[in-house]
């Protein structure tokens, strides 16, 4: 049995490739960390703390004007595979679910609003993590969504708040505003031109940080970088949000410049990489996830550069999400071994590309644009 029929948009609206620069910025997330007075924080909370927090949250969310309709999924009641799918759709964290193979702690839950792309994790590291996950670069909009929900919840819930330190959190790196805004960016141009190091160093100088695909401590895969604010105390939420937005737009400009450099100085090699990636995706019979991510990076670059006409960003976004292990198992209807998973992944990708990503042979077009006599070439 799947609980997905009750989830608004199946939790996938952030894949729709609708916001600004959606080919470069996969998604935007803004979250607020909040805790209630009188209860120990997540890692030290006892069962009665967690249950009391969940109960108070339920009654508070029911009393909100715009957020009462939605689904509250209590993690211990949700089937294992469904939980993993929620994780793969980035609606919950591993922290909320607990270690693989264990039942999530009593009181852990996620509330997904059916009106807006906004959700609340309950009893994670902090009692509440109010978050919005949107497609493309939409930091301001994501902030407004979480702010509104937070305002409404705060009218009912006794938040742990300190006059000097602001909103109190389990980890001192979140205290103050409790706000973490992040954008998930695809930066192959900067990686291929070896400019990425400079850019990442620059980020750290302006109070931002980066992570890999799966958040803290994870590796960078497929040239995807999650860029977020580093500090949460001493700046207003608006400043944090504006700053990330400005810097993200600057990084996008650098990335676009890097891509122009690639086209100018290494068009042949770049096109070859892109078409090889497309060819492998189109015909491979086994694809480990990491290899898929690297190939998708090449194809995504090709799409942005208009070298692969007919492909849509949405198709590529789907291929990243539906090829994760729990999604493949859900589609297959049974647990998959790693080799089976790789084979299913390749099958899924071939099928999607056959229906949504068939590209006319463009031999002639490629010949015309081979840049051996590019006047700007160095």
């Amino acid at each position: 049995m799947s609980d997905f029929s009750t989830i608004p948009d199946y939790g996938l609206s952030w894949l729709e490739a609708s916001g600004d620069h959606a080919d470069i910025v996969l998604s935007t997330r803004v979250r607020l960390a909040r805790n209630l007075q009188g209860h120990a924080f997540g890692p030290r909370a006892r069962i009665n703390d967690r249950e009391a927090v969940l109960k108070r949250f339920k009654s508070a969310v029911e009393g909100t004007e715009g957020f009462a309709t939605g689904s509250l999924l209590e993690m211990p009641d949700v089937a294992t595979r469904t939980r993993e799918i929620l994780l793969e759709r980035r609606l919950v964290t591993r922290d909320l679910l607990g270690e693989v193979g264990t039942t999530p702690a009593l009181g852990t839950a996620v509330h997904l609003s059916s009106r807006d792309p906004v959700s609340v994790m309950v009893n994670e590291e902090d009692h509440l993590r109010v978050q919005s996950l949107l497609s493309g670069l939409r930091i301001e909009e994501a902030w407004r969504l979480v702010d509104r929900l937070d305002e409404e919840l705060g009218r009912d819930l006794p938040y742990a708040y300190h006059n000097e330190f602001g909103f109190l959190t389990s980890c001192p790196t979140n205290v103050g505003s409790g706000l973490r805004a992040s954008v998930f960016m695809h930066l192959p141009g900067l990686v291929l031109t070896k400019e990425i190091g400079k850019v990442l160093q620059g980020l750290s100088q302006v109070g931002l940080t980066f992570r890999g695909l799966y958040g803290e401590g994870s590796e960078v895969v497929g040239n995807f970088f999650q860029v977020s604010n580093q500090t949460t105390l001493g700046k207003t939420e608006e400043d944090l949000v504006d700053h990330l937005d400005k810097v993200a737009r600057q990084v996008i400009q650098y990335e676009l410049q890097a891509r122009q450099v690639l086209l100018r100085d290494a068009r042949g090699v770049t096109e070859d990489k892109i078409w090889r990636a497309y060819g492998l995706l189109r015909y491979a019979r086994s694809l480990p996830f990491e290899e898929l991510m690297n190939l998708l990076s090449g194809v995504r670059l090709g799409l942005s550069l208009k070298l692969l006409p007919g492909l849509r960003v949405y198709t590529l976004n789907k291929m990243m999400i539906f090829t994760q292990p729990a999604h493949l198992e859900q589609a297959a209807g049974y647990d998959l071994s790693a080799p089976e998973s790789d084979a299913q992944r390749a099958t899924y990708v071939r099928r999607i590309l056959a229906t949504e990503g068939e590209i006319e042979s463009d031999e002639d077009q490629s010949d015309e644009t081979t840049p051996s006599t590019d006047p700007d070439g160095r």
Partner: protein, 167 residues
């Protein structure tokens, strides 16, 4: 990271690990507080994420407190300062008061300051919320009374609710 000597000055004890990416190559240095500050890493990402627990582990030691002074403990949740240093996670809102002086230093180091300037939170009006809770309880009981067809009780409850409800 225990007892590294600062790789820059070669004399002080290193209190943080700095990871830099230069020309796509990642390198890690162990630095003392002074050299780290010189490199301007106070608010660099690594300063908060990476060596937070390292820094925490050093916090008491620098003041010579860890062996001689009794361990501070939060009276509400029982978290000891030692445990906080190990995990980097506070136990409850009261921990912020219990460990305030240590935290002040830590927060300055992580965030560059200690004063929240963002959203101001006004706690819910306690009388209103108490009243709300009471009304909610009465309404629940009213439903139950109606469900069990105890109409006498239901009438009583309805009168109580009316007397409490704001006009």
């Amino acid at each position: 990271m225990s007892n590294h000597i600062c790789e820059k000055c070669g004399s002080n004890e290193a209190v943080m690990r700095l990871t830099q990416i230069v020309n796509n190559e990642m390198s890690t240095y162990h630095l003392c507080e002074t050299c780290a500050a010189e490199k301007g890493v106070e608010t660099a990402p690594e300063a908060a994420n990476f060596p937070l627990t390292d820094f925490l582990a050093q916090m008491g030691d620098e003041r010579g407190e860890s062996d001689t002074t009794p361990d501070l403990e939060c009276s509400f949740c029982g978290l000891s300062f030692k445990a906080f240093r190990e995990t980097g996670r506070l136990g409850c809102p009261h921990c912020y008061e219990t460990f305030e002086s240590h935290l002040r230093r830590l927060l300055r180091r992580i965030h560059g300051g200690v004063k929240h300037v963002g959203k101001v939170y006004l706690p819910p009006d306690p009388t209103a919320s108490e009243m709300g809770k009471r009304l909610e309880g009465l309404r629940r009981r009213l439903h139950r009374a109606v469900d069990s067809e105890d109409f006498e009780r239901a009438a009583e409850l309805r009168d109580q609710i009316r007397s409490l409800e704001p006009v």
